[in-house]
Amino acid sequence: MSATLQDTRLEQPGRANLVHTIGSRFSLIGVWVVLAVVYAATEPGTFLTSGTFQTIFGSQQALVFLTAALLCTITIGEFVDMSVASTLGLSAILVPVLTVDHGWNVWLASVVAIAAAALVGAVNGWLIVRLGVNTIVVTLGMATFLLGIALWVSNLTPVSGLSHSFSLIALQDVAGLPLGFWEGLVLMLGFAYLLAWTPLGRNMRFVGANREVSRLAGIQVNRIRFGSFVAAGTIAGVGGVLSSAATGGFDPTISQSYLLPIFAATFLGTAVLEPGRFNPLGTLIAVYFLATGILGLQLLGVAGWVSDVFYGGALVIAVTLSTLLRRRSV
């Protein structure tokens, strides 16, 4: 017995394994680089401009916030929160409606918009966690309900007219990119830190993997689940306020177009950095990867339908990839 004690050292993954690990972690980044090189070679005049860079990295903040919101609930095992896009839409329309139509202070309107989004998350959480209603049904219903509310308060029309000074919370230039990009980056870095380095993040992972195991380990499972829904609502709400600021107003019908890209990016994110796991930084990379792909195709002269084809196709491929990676890891 004592001989075997000394013999068993912790194995380090071998070199072949290391190549494999790097391959599976960074392959999407490799594809991204190849994609950029191909576009740069075929469209050097348009793709290789700072405007392209600006468009790719400066225009995705709504998507970044939405994927972060979706990650809140997906890490704790709620597979599909369909309502985050509509929650963002509600928050984004409330700001111009309250400010422009009703003459509120824009900051107060922002706080109310975020609070409303957090309330939506709390209602979702209450129905799903306390009452045990099916997640898809609750959030799908909630998504349509909120879209309707957004159309109602805005009288079915886009509302604009927010002040330039307010737009600086999203558009202020910092090191060549709008502030919104940096805000999204900080959010995702913070989220990644939370999941990887704090007991709360660890608990969230375990709740997502197996609720009964978590409960037996003393984790307050339902509190974490409820909190995740509230956090999802709040993050979508903040994202809404920033979207509104960036465009000086909001078109209430636009929120639905985010739904597919959110899922595509989130699932594609499981193929990056931590294969088989939903992870914030991988998701962030996936958001910009998808944005690059679409912009490049548009520059090549492909028409407007390309984003539907690209996001739809990417979603199917990403979910397939995610399923295969997860299967291999169990």
């Binding site: 375990f206 993997a209 037996l216 984790i219 890891s329 169990v330």
Partner: protein
């Protein structure tokens, strides 16, 4: 042919019912099977045993066509070669039926649907299922087994014995009496003793007709008591082929499995009469009327009984998993009230549970060994939610436990689901031992675990006791309790009815459990051999 003809395995020259010759299987650079051979004679129950990872599940998967074997080997049924890779329909045509782990039944479907699944024939213009025909077929096979069941009943509403009947009937329906072979792949492990007796009574009738059975099991006791001959696999090779179980003891089997004898458990430290004691008082809740016991620090106490006697509920009531109506646990003079106790409270008081359901309650299979192992320390209660995790401290802790319990492969970064069952169980035990508990409660700690892992787990539990932990083991496996426990308490109807002290052998535990109920041997046709067991 008469049943007597099959009283023993086929004589010299007889064509084996199932003959596997020189079958190998390579996964990548990994050779899982080396020229494995296996012969099941007509009309016998043949056991196939081996440790986790020895290749027996790979062999089963080759028989069912899930894996394709490497070229070269052959599989014959009644002398006829099966084409490889095996196709399920082809195997079925040759009379090879398989019953998988946990019986493979769909609970919310009826008996007839479960029986005929995959065999429904489309009839008429509308290509509908002719239910009358299906019911007749189902009734016929159940009658052959001599155990009619309500065909329209939901399988989930049946008793365990009846469920076992459905599973066997399903595997048998394509075989004719006197032909075919039914493979049971660990399918008996969830059965209670009563259901197990009924199961083997049924198999007795089946093999008496000349049909053969290949039984793959972890339970050496079951293999010794219920099979005629046994084949042992070790590291992907056949090390013993067709040994007659009547001439074997459990120690012989262990030796064949491991290639060495197990070290004796060793004498336990004599009890110190002045040791502080964990007092468990007046526990009541679901299944437990009232139970009180003392466990000294350093002592391992077993609780057992018939199914439903209450010993299975006690672990969950003590650890806040299920809410108790009343009761207290006093550790070092500090009393913990069980009513209203949750898991976090129990863990903080030093009361931890190693639950029975490894996959359901024990471990998160899609997270890593390391994450699972440190969960109670890092993620659990009593931690500030946003304080930074200390990863180097985690690594040391994990490395220590991987060494202590000899977890293989020693790769904390692997997901738990990638480990074998025995090693998963070691991770589960380590996860809770690492919290340095005051009272360690275990439910069936070595169920469905191979002999080597069982030994390592027993050693670790003893070491925890020697370090001053009070240990309570709930289980119905008398051999496990006999090896582990200093004392065994027997539950009847929710109360502690009997206490067995001083070196409790398995036989005494069995006698105490079945004091009123008579425990029958697993196979009636093998009664004389029962008395020989060591």
């Amino acid at each position: 042919m008469t049943a007597e003809h099959f009283a023993g395995p086929g004589g010299p020259g007889a064509v084996p019912r199932l003959q596997v010759t020189g079958v190998s299987k390579t996964f990548g650079s990994n050779r899982a099977l080396h020229e494995v051979s296996l012969e099941v004679a007509a009309g016998e129950i043949h056991g196939l045993i081996g440790q986790n990872g020895c290749g027996k599940s790979t062999l089963t998967k080759i028989l069912t066509g899930y894996h394709a074997a490497d070229p070269g080997g052959s599989i014959r049924v009644d002398g006829q070669s099966l084409r490889q890779p095996v196709r399920p329909l082809d195997a079925r045509a040759h009379g090879v039926g398989v019953v998988h782990q946990s019986l493979g039944l769909v609970d919310d479907r009826t008996v007839v649907e479960n029986l005929r699944l995959g065999r429904f024939r489309a009839h008429g213009v509308a290509r509908h299922i002719a239910w009358r025909h299906e019911r007749e077929q189902a009734r016929a096979v159940l009658e052959r087994l001599g155990r009619p069941l309500p065909l329209q009943a939901l399988v989930g509403s049946l008793s365990e014995e009846e469920r076992a009947t459905v599973a066997i009937a399903r595997a048998l329906q394509d075989t004719q009496d006197g032909r075919g072979v039914v493979v049971f792949d660990e399918s008996t492990r969830s059965l209670t003793r009563a259901a197990l007796e009924a199961f083997y009574a049924m198999l007795d009738d089946v093999v008496a007709t000349g049909t053969s059975v290949l039984l793959i099991s972890h339970s050496l006791e079951e293999v010794l008591a219920a099979t005629d001959r046994v084949t042992v696999l070790r590291d992907g090779r056949t090390v013993e082929s067709g040994l007659r179980t009547a001439e074997l003891s459990e120690a012989d089997l262990v030796h064949a499995l491991l290639g060495r004898a197990l070290d004796g458990a060793g004498a336990r430290k004599p009890a110190d009469p002045d040791r502080p004691v964990v007092e468990i008082r007046a526990v009541a809740g679901k299944g437990v009327q009232e139970a009180g016991l003392d466990i000294a620090r350093g002592e391992i106490v077993g609780v057992t009984g018939l199914t439903g006697a209450g010993h299975e509920e006690l672990p969950y009531l003590l650890t806040g998993v299920r809410t108790a109506e009343q009761g207290t646990v006093s550790i070092d003079g500090r009393a913990v009230r069980l009513a209203g106790l949750d898991c976090a409270g129990a863990i903080e008081a030093g009361i931890v549970l190693v639950p029975e359901g490894r996959e359901r309650q024990g471990l998160a299979l899609e997270l890593s060994v390391s994450e699972n192992l440190v969960l109670p320390q890092r993620g659990g209660p009593g931690r500030r939610a946003l304080s930074r995790l200390d990863r180097s401290q985690d690594r040391e802790l994990v490395a220590e436990w991987v060494r202590t319990l000899d977890i293989k492969p020693p790769r904390p970064d692997l997901n738990v689901g990638q480990l074998s069952g025995g090693n998963q169980q070691k991770v589960l035990l380590a996860k809770w031992l690492a919290t340095r508990p005051q009272l360690l409660v275990l439910h069936e700690p070595t169920q469905a675990v191979d002999v080597g892992a069982r030994h390592a787990i027993a050693e670790a539990i003893r070491a925890a006791a020697d370090a001053g932990c009070a240990v309570l083991v709930a289980g119905s496996d008398e051999n496990e309790l006999a090896v582990l426990c200093d004392r065994v308490l027997v539950f009847r109807e929710g109360r502690i009815a009997e206490e067995l002290t001083d070196d409790v052998p398995a036989e005494r535990i069995v006698q105490a459990i079945y004091r009123d109920a008579v425990r029958r041997p697993l196979r009636r046709s093998r009664v004389p051999q029962q008395t020989r067991r060591t």
